[in-house]
Symmetry: C2
Subunit: 161 residues, 2 copies
DNA sequence: ATCTGTGCAAAAACTTTGCAGCAGT
DNA sequence: ACTGCTGCAAAGTTTTTGCACAGAT
């Protein structure tokens, strides 16, 4: 697994390798390694970390007009079943799709919309607590935590002192 | 105006009082105390605690055919601005609308869809932690926490022991 | 009288589905 | 050859919007 920190420090060979891994997994589960899937995976692996299904479909369609929107939607779902990608709801509007690497929790500011990524490690205590109190095993990735970010809290504080 | 033979224990006069409170608040902010608003508020105050906008609209429309769906949507938004109601996303699909009383955190099971309500008190530590680490003031009500509930964890454990 | 809110219908935003043919195994 | 996958178009679901008029202040 490539250990890059951010968006696109990933060389072409890394992309190919990751894509091939997933294709193999797909085949192992009785699926087919189609051209459309390759294209979608390439877009996922090499583009920005968070995109909506629509954004992905649009970008893919631009590069590969033969790949239809519906195919993107269908495959995102399929990839999610395989545990290769997942989607998060960061605020209102459509979900954002990620590769399933370096899972993190999202903090979305309801004033300005800014999204901060928090380490999952920061939530060990809640996790334990919810397991103890409710027997509930929480997965913090699916929904963001909403609230007010530091800059917006400053603004509010200044507005009514 | 059907009084509450419903889910809750609130007498008709309580309903009226709460509705009037909100109408007054509305007027104080330059709004108008319209019939449609009264009807929508009555539905909110006297019905079940969690409903989607569509469910609300449907129920209201059944009792008061003249009140249109769009009016329900518009007013839910308005009421939320006033801090009277709020909506939460408990899972996929449309949001659920609540009165802003007794705020709680939702735990949604991704296997069976069950929703558990957790006390906000249980999250004091995360709240402090996020404020310290990120300057982020979290509001846990907007999005549910997703994960696996106790019964479903049992099932999974039994399936592959 | 003024200006907000409403009913209505139409459209927008996003996603899913049915089907016939194409293509990976 | 078998069956899963895709392109396409069409419809589904949920929410938003424009407009003329009704209604609250």
């Amino acid at each position: 697994m490539a250990a890059s920190s951010h968006v696109d420090r990933r060389g072409p060979s890394d992309v190919e390798q990751r894509v091939t891994e997933v294709m193999d997994l797909l085949r192992a589960r009785g699926g087919r390694a189609s051209g459309a899937r390759r294209v979608i995976l390439e877009a996922l692996v090499s583009g920005p970390a968070h995109r909506t299904a629509e954004e992905l479909a649009e970008q893919i369609h631009a590069d590969h007009p033969s790949v239809h929107q519906a195919t993107v939607y269908r495959n995102l779902e399929r990839f999610e079943e395989l545990g290769v990608v997942y989607h998060s709801h960061l605020g209102h509007g459509p979900a954002q799709w990620h590769l399933d690497q370096n899972p993190h929790v999202h903090l979305t500011c309801e004033s300005c919309g800014a999204v901060t990524q928090a380490e999952q490690a920061a939530f060990g205590a809640v996790r334990t607590d919810l397991r103890d109190r409710y027997g509930f095993e929480v997965d913090m990735r699916h929904f963001a935590l909403t609230g007010t970010c530091a800059p917006c809290r400053q603004l509010e504080a200044n507005r009514r002192p």
